[in-house]
């Protein structure tokens, strides 16, 4: 990164000079406490696991192209589906969100680093062992009870693999808690003096909500998993019915974390899209306070909806009604966000950048997941489609449509800041089109499959469902292929991409008011807010590459 070129005559759109801020690639393999390094470590690690999870998904879809279990045996299939779910959630979406938060929060609030830099590095370095254990578990009596790992099944599928799996989630959960604590304290205590909470970028609001959820709910998952580990390894009977335990209690504890976890997965991207849309439509975010506070409301409501995963688990009727209503109500703050985003686009000046395309895809797909989510909240309907492909379709529209599109959107948007290079927009658009088409082709037919009677987590299915499954498999191949242009684009651009100015999108938030990539402690001198984060249309147009940023910058040593 640093070593390639000597300063040359700048093209008009290029930065004035090459800077010494690019990190050596070896820095990313060290216990570095710089939040920018840690952020990129998280993102790259997460993306590696995304490829692993995606490969597993491709095997699953290949298996499901025909009704018979012919590609892998059903027990291997269950191992793969467990690993796919767990990897995608705990090693892709969560670390990717944490990576964005790490990179962006200090820059957005004008801080020099996170509140607890060493804790931050520890949190990151828990991820690789957690990932290794998780993937390793597959080779020792693979855990095959799904990512939910419901007992008694999870107690019968092989103690070693399941034990490693539990340890892995405990380590990953610890990383998540440490990260959440760090984000919260950083946002609350380390903003520049001129930035009140209501002038923060919405990403920071979303991270407050996310961190609260992490801190409140993750320990309960840890509790559930520790008790499960006792049942598994020490022969206790917390959840094991043969000793008088109650398997439904595990479900309560599991979902007390794992429903809020859905918001942990998606809220950071709700925040990111609020920033991206305003920039690329050149219009203030519509209803800043409504969008900011709705994150907090979602976070609170997210804590009291968990039993909607258990409408068929023999829960009492009154409890089902309570959780139905709370789940329905969560549509209101979520709707506020979606309408706010659309209204932001309305009468804006929309640039068709890759980041914006992924943002548009995000809204379009998340809407579908949101509508099917409200349907699923209705108890009588949920009883029919619970544990079917309708649910699989629903949560992929949320987790892929919103979270994964959101992550790609964020990468296209902040890549210039992170690396000092622009990504290739043409290949970004190809990536978008392939992902969007493949995604819909894969998951849209699953709604109908579930309604018609196809249950989930099966390696073999009724032949009447073959046609739609073939369609889904074709879609999944398109999605698999769609990753290739992104991968090449990201690697190539990082090395050879066009040099990025400090503020290529002429955005108003603070992370763009420093160099690309930012210097070691982010800002030459602590920035003062010139405008609010979304004050577009007031006559102040940010410069792409303001002269004064370079006044004290040291050119990279010629090598």
């Amino acid at each position: 990164m640093t070593t390639t070129s000597k300063p040359k005559t700048p093209l008009p759109e290029e930065p004035k000079m090459l800077l010494g801020n690019e990190r050596k690639w070896t820095d990313y393999f060290t216990f570095c406490t710089d939040h920018k390094v840690i952020g990129i470590q998280y993102l790259v690690t997460a993306f590696f696991f995304y490829l692993v999870g995606g490969a597993l998904a491709t095997v699953m879809r290949t298996e499901l192209a025909t009704p018979a279990p012919d590609i892998v045996t059903p027990d291997v299939y269950n191992g793969i589906l467990t690993l796919h779910g767990t990897v995608m959630l705990f090693l892709w979406i969560v670390p990717a969100g944490a990576g964005l938060a790490n990179y962006l929060i200090p820059l957005m609030i004008g801080a020099r680093d996170m509140a607890f830099p060493r804790l931050n590095a520890i949190a990151f370095w828990l991820i690789p062992p957690s990932g290794l254990m998780l993937i390793g578990s597959f080779f020792f009596e693979p855990p095959s009870a799904g990512w939910t790992s419901y007992p008694p099944l999870s107690l019968t599928t092989g103690a070693l693999g399941e034990g490693i799996w539990i340890m892995s989630i405990l380590v990953g959960g610890t990383a998540s808690i440490l990260g959440g604590l760090n984000f919260l304290v950083t946002i609350l205590k380390m903003r520049v003096p001129s930035m009140p909470l209501t002038k923060m970028p919405l990403f920071c609001w979303a991270m407050i909500a996310t961190s609260l959820l992490i801190l409140i709910s993750t320990p309960v998952l840890a509790g559930a998993l520790i008790l499960l580990a006792f049942d598994l390894l020490a022969g206790t009977a917390f959840f094991n019915p043969t000793g008088g335990g109650n398997p439904v209690v595990y479900q309560h504890m599991f979902w007390f974390y794992s429903h809020p976890a859905v918001y942990i997965f998606v809220l950071p991207l709700f925040g990111a899209i609020s920033d991206v849309i305003a920039v690329h439509a050149r219009k203030p975010i519509f209803g800043y306070r409504a969008i900011a506070y709705s994150s907090i409301v979602i976070s609170f409501l997210g804590l009291i909806v968990w039993a909607h995963h258990m409408f068929t688990s023999g829960t009492p009727p009154w409890l089902r009604m309570f959780f139905m209503i709370t789940t329905m109500v969560i549509a209101v703050p979520t709707g506020i966000k979606v309408f706010g985003w659309v209204a932001t686009l309305w009468r804006g000046k929309i640039a068709y950048t890759s980041a914006m395309l992924f943002a548009l895809g995000f809204i379009a797909l998340f809407l579908i997941g949101g509508i099917s989510g409200v349907m699923l909240a209705a108890v009588p309907f949920d009883i029919h489609v619970h544990d079917t492909y309708f649910v699989v379709a629903h949560f992929h529209y949320v987790l892929f449509g919103a979270s994964v599109f959101g992550i790609f959107m964020s990468v296209y948007h902040w890549f210039p800041k992170m690396t000092g290079r622009m990504m290739n927009e043409f290949w970004g658009k190809i990536h978008f089109v392939l992902t969007f088409v493949g995604m819909n082709l894969t998951f849209m037919p699953m709604h109908e499959l579930g309604l018609r009677g196809m249950n989930r987590r099966i390696a073999l299915y009724d032949p009447q469902f073959t046609d739609l499954n073939v369609l889904a498999t074709i879609g999944s191949y398109i999605m698999a292929v769609s990753t290739i242009p992104f991968l090449i684009n990201a690697i190539w651009s990082w090395r050879y991409g066009k040099k990025a100015p400090a503020n290529p999108w002429r955005a108003l938030t603070l992370e763009w008011q420093t160099l690309s990539p930012p210097e070691l402690e982010n800002f030459e001198e602590l920035p003062v807010l010139k405008t609010g984060p979304y004050d577009y249309g007031l006559g102040y147009i940010a410069e792409e590459d303001p002269e004064e940023l370079y006044a004290h910058a040291v050119p990279a040593p010629v090598s």
């Binding site: 279990p69 045996t73 059903p74 419901y150 008694p152 099944l153 019968t156 019915p241 043969t242 109650n246 398997p247 439509a281 050149r282 219009k283 203030p284 209803g287 800043y288 409504a290 068929t312 023999g314 009492p316 009727p317 009154w318 089902r320 009604m321 329905m328 549509a331 506020i336 979606v338 309408f339 659309v342 209204a343 309305w346 009468r347 000046k349 379009a364 809407l367 509508i371 099917s372 409200v374 209705a378 009588p380 309907f381 009883i383 029919h384 619970h386 079917t388 109908e448 309604l451 018609r452 009677g453 249950n455 989930r456 987590r457 390696a459 073999l460 299915y461 002429r506 577009y536 249309g537």
Partner: protein
Amino acid sequence: MSTVKIPSSIVTLLIGILLTLASLWYGQNHGLMPVAASEEAELVDGLFDAMMTIGFGLFLLVEGALVYSAIRFRRKDGDEGDGEHLEGNIPLEIVWTAIPAVVVLGISIYSFDIYTRMGGLELMDHDMGGPTKTVEVAYAADAVTGGSTTALGELPLEDQVSEAGLGVSPDAVDEGLSVDVQGLQYAFIFNYPNGIVDGELHVPAGQPVRINLNAQDVLHAFWLPEFRIKQDMIPGQETKLVINANREGTYPVVCAELCGPYHGGMRTQLIVHSPEDYDAWVAERLAALDTGETVASVPSVKSDRTHTARTDAEYLEPFVEPLQLAVAPERLAALRASAEDSAMTHHSHAH
């Protein structure tokens, strides 16, 4: 552009009408659900159609606004300026907070009503014929017997029972058929009155049937897609359903909770008979019982293929040879034996 300028309020009105019509049409014609074979299914389908209508309308509205914005408000080449400085609009924000709130409240109330009419909330006063009256929660309720936390279920509610429990009086349910279902990896075993045991569920149309669900090993779920009904089968905790079949035919019974590698193979059939046919079936099975053929018929291996419950062992058989599954022949034998064991156990209980 155009010489005749249509007022925007009229355009909005037209779009609104078209959108409403499209939603109403789609809500009735989506064709996504399988055939409805019970009273409960018709209720659920009514709810689903209503949600599809609203959902499709919302889908068209928001996606329409999104696509329209993306086209109409795209940045022109060379335009470096900003859009309008519009930070929000409080009345508009109140509207789009209030409308979804009202919609989800409406759906909640409708769902509550449907659920009540399906018997989900009704505590049915139910005389088991024993000395004590126990109260049973109809339709997918919690366990009521034996637990220490079942205060709700044990309330003396005799006088409060309405006839809303699945639309029939509790007495009728008492008189009706009751089937005990046991789930095990990877089969359902159905235990009928008078010691009849079968691998398939046979019920008469037009009368309520009580289903008591148990699991022997891990969690299973008892799903009747054509009845829109599902209930987990929990080891150590009995769960209950009441179904009202109203359409004769043969329908799948599906396990819908991951229960092991061959979870996908854990399915059997539900046969809804006319009452006369059902009686004939019972008579036939009772006659067979008298001649001691019960056990042999449990996984109904001997009956013709179309009417065969495919138990785990049978289901796996075709796959073992050509595909080299990791299922040893001993495992198959063990599965078959366990199915027969449990059937025999139940048989003896019934006597």
